[in-house]
Symmetry: D5
């Protein structure tokens, strides 16, 4: 444990977040995402939801200030009528932490998988909501 | 994820629990326990409390039926007047899962550290309660 | 050993099954399948038949609900007049565990090899029946 | 698979058996034995009983001809009234394969654990019988 | 050492032979073959000739029954007038062990190198005969 | 880089600090300390002085509240008349961050080496001051 | 520490600099550069600025005498009106150490990333200036 | 040390030379060659010149008898008027050891780099002469 | 292969022999010796007898000139009436290679095992003779 | 290569020298010293004499200023009448580099071996002189 760091964040995740540089991406993946088969670096966060992890991470780094949409969501598949209320939760957390109001890019399912393969890391959470996977692009930090 | 396995339990923890045999011990350690320096095998469970992990684990294996006290707690240090209400929570979970009513052995702090070093694994939780560390001795499973 | 987990399943196989996510594939390979040369992750289950492993695995995860044919078999080679009675056994186990009645896709031998190379894992069994190799695509688990 | 080698035996176990020399020991451990914590080399044979493994192994090597009791069993604990019918099964297999009629040394439980730690390998089986653990001391092979 | 296994075969080679499945290939390479630079798995058998290894291996597995020519030789280079009497020795051993009378495919030198790179393993022998390199394709074993 | 974490601290050092638990020790070693030969885990911080690292670390964790002297210094050797002004700098930083006014235990040189060998980690700095090595014992963090 | 080597340079960096040969490249990357995801070999130099590292490195090796522009900078992005005063600092250090007056090639941002991936190593500094990343191409040393 | 083996040759280099087969190549690289970035296997021979290593190596293996030019040199770059007296030294050593009088192929600098990448090993010497890099292709040894 | 090195000797064994220094010991172990469990470094020489290996090794290094008995044999066990004709073969080879006429020390079986554990390496041969194990102590080589 | 560093020194040796701290020891071992069996870290310097390495190393670090005899030699064995002229060469180099006139401690042969085992590193040279082994204790560097 460290002062000021959420206890949700493991030492290894903290190291990964710090190693990432401008434009590196991290995937917060739900409990059914095929993370182990797609990750260059896999961090387990079993049993945790994505919103609280998202909030803890955004305390630690900004989103990419050089692109319009620094956050990617997995697009609802054509014909699927499911609702995605967790996206609103993400939107509120992101706005609260960064001020961004429309940060989301939607990415088709298989394109999302390909992008996840190139991400710096994937965090395997226990999130149970549908279409909850989200990719964050890290921004520039000026001390 | 697997059907019937708590999402609190990581794949690596599940493998560790299954590898353990009769009389092997596992430590559920609170957020301040020096787990990384004492563990033969360290499993991270950041951000989780011990009671819910204890309950999830006791669904998966019995406690040692060959000893009187298959569970060890870290003894309150002499002169320390702190209360340990989490022990009652442990007692209820253990009784509910195993029927045991007085399963606890109390172990002096530094003896507890030495025993943790010999345990098969230590689970590093985010538990914040005082004197919350607990050692479980696995029992015999008859199919 | 763990309560409720078949003793056919090794700790490493259990971990692999839990790590897999939606749409990841696992191959149950017969005793003559070239598993060691094709597997990204190889799990040994020497001396066991496929039907009992299939049954034990389907207790632990569902098949992919998003595709029509979540199970692939190796197609009988043209000109080969062999019977494949083990497919019926598979069909019964799958129907009993999932309710699916026509889950099978047939894949030509060399295409099957290529697909096995991309699978998350291959389980090397001792199954002696002909054309017994089978690929399972994992489904979504909602707690 | 290889001609003439039981399909119960994995490639890794076969290699271990061949690497062993005169007086090296191997433990066939039941499903509750703490093998992972005691083994210098651990071989999984989940789901298999010990008698069939014992028979397959004794086809491949002789027992130590230089000691009186080349096989060790875990002694029934004082006060325990359990029967150990599996010992008779072992006795028959050993006599059939080696001609030995009284090969057994009985070793107290904790001494057995210590001896298992020094063995060349431990085979973790799924054997469910009580007091089924057995240690074999390999003999000299003259081509 | 093991009963019934030639002492020419090392524990590692035995494991490799057992891991191989139907259609996997193994190269028996002469003393000048560039094995270390071409092998996915390299097994040393320094000081041994190929005929005795070939014989020992064919006691352990059959050749591929699904192809016409399950054995490949390195073709004599155009213009080279060398004799290859070792091929006859191979032919006799193969016929004695498998009954096959015309098992040989001849492969041009550089194509042979490429095929060796894809083989499951290369055995580096001390064979001194010319054009002695040989590739074996493993067959199906029915217990 | 991360928001709120000094850029003096490397990702690996941050991970180490977080992994440490109550009573684990870390050595901040000067440029001449034999760190590589004594460390269980060695973290390089070449070119940095100890005071600024000490300050950055004490922002992240408290000193052990259960011992009187949670900080150890290397005692000036008998007969050595050198001054140790850097100790005052340490004292001020520690008091500012923790309120402690007399945190220092002095440890004889070779005893200091032995204690450093048991520490969780050694940070190899470029500090040039004499008798600048310092050991910190981590305290309890309550969220 | 070594006589005559700047204490800014870690043992690992010194080894890397010595291993590099004629035309190998090294990247000095600022605190926000995605070094961990792009480096073949990553050297941490947290908390240090690039000018002092550049100076220390140019004491140890010359720049490539066979190309016109042995130093590459990341080009200011079109539309960006930022100043890059650190480039002048680099120019002065390089002229002082090598006599070169116009050593700089400017490379577009994403081409710079690709070139960094092929570099022998990336040094992750704590440099906070904008457009501070720089690639050095090592020259020939004649003893 | 071994009887009859030059003390210039390290145990690892000796092993590499012995592992090489017919047509495998080894690069003897001068002190400025980018060996660490190009080598599949890198052998250090710091402080030694190439002629003495060449002589020691040619005592141990013949050059390829199946190609016209079993030795490759790095071509002098167009416009470069440098002399390459070390080539004569190489020629004399090679003639003395093998009888070959015109063994040299000249390879353009960047093609030489590409060929070095595919070589079995690169020996990093301290040779200071210009254009001193040389590639040897190993021949057939008949006992 | 290398000129002048017996093809019995593998590249790894050659490296081991060269790495050994004055007074280091190597064990040539027969086919039943428990080499894998006793060796710090194990070299396989399956299928070869010890006399030819002994001869090949003594071409490469001298025996220790500073002790009376640089060769150790395993003593015949009390009561065992077996003959050890292979010792004469060893004696002849050693005398031919070194001139020594009484080089042998006899070591009791379990003391021999302990000494083998401390040897630099054990060579696992296929030697079938009784009491054939032998330990060589390497001597000083003056170039 | 680096400017100002002797080409006798490999990148790995340079790193080792820099990692060493005050009072760490390094052994320069002659060609017959059993370095591989005694070293915690072994650096090869085949084919080089010790005097030139000693000189190159003493340019890079001072000897321990806190002990009387910072250099250890292996004592001539009782009864051995050999001369040790290389000691004078060492004395001259050490005096030239450090001003020390009587730096040598003599250590009995087997005590020397024990001390070598504890040294930070052993450099395996090709030195052929008798009693040439030498241990250096590194001193304090003040920038």
């Amino acid at each position: 444990m460290l002062k000021g760091i959420s206890s949700l964040i493991s030492p290894e995740l903290l190291k990964i977040l710090m190693e990432m540089g401008h434009s590196d991406e991290i995937v917060l993946a739900d409990g059914n995402f095929p993370g182990a088969s797609h990750a260059q670096r896999l961090i387990r966060a079993d049993g945790h939801g994505i919103p609280e992890l998202l909030d803890a991470i955004l305390k630690l780094f900004p989103l990419d200030q050089y692109v319009d949409k620094p956050v990617a969501l997995m697009q609802v598949m054509p014909g699927d009528t499911v609702e995605t209320p967790i996206w609103s939760a993400y939107g509120e957390i992101i706005e609260a932490r960064t001020g961004l109001q429309a940060p989301f890019e939607e990415v088709e399912r298989f394109a999302f998988y390909e992008r996840a393969k190139k991400a710096y890391a994937i965090v395997a959470t226990g999130e149970g909501a549908l279409y909850a996977n989200v990719i964050l692009k890290k921004g520039v930090i000026s001390e």
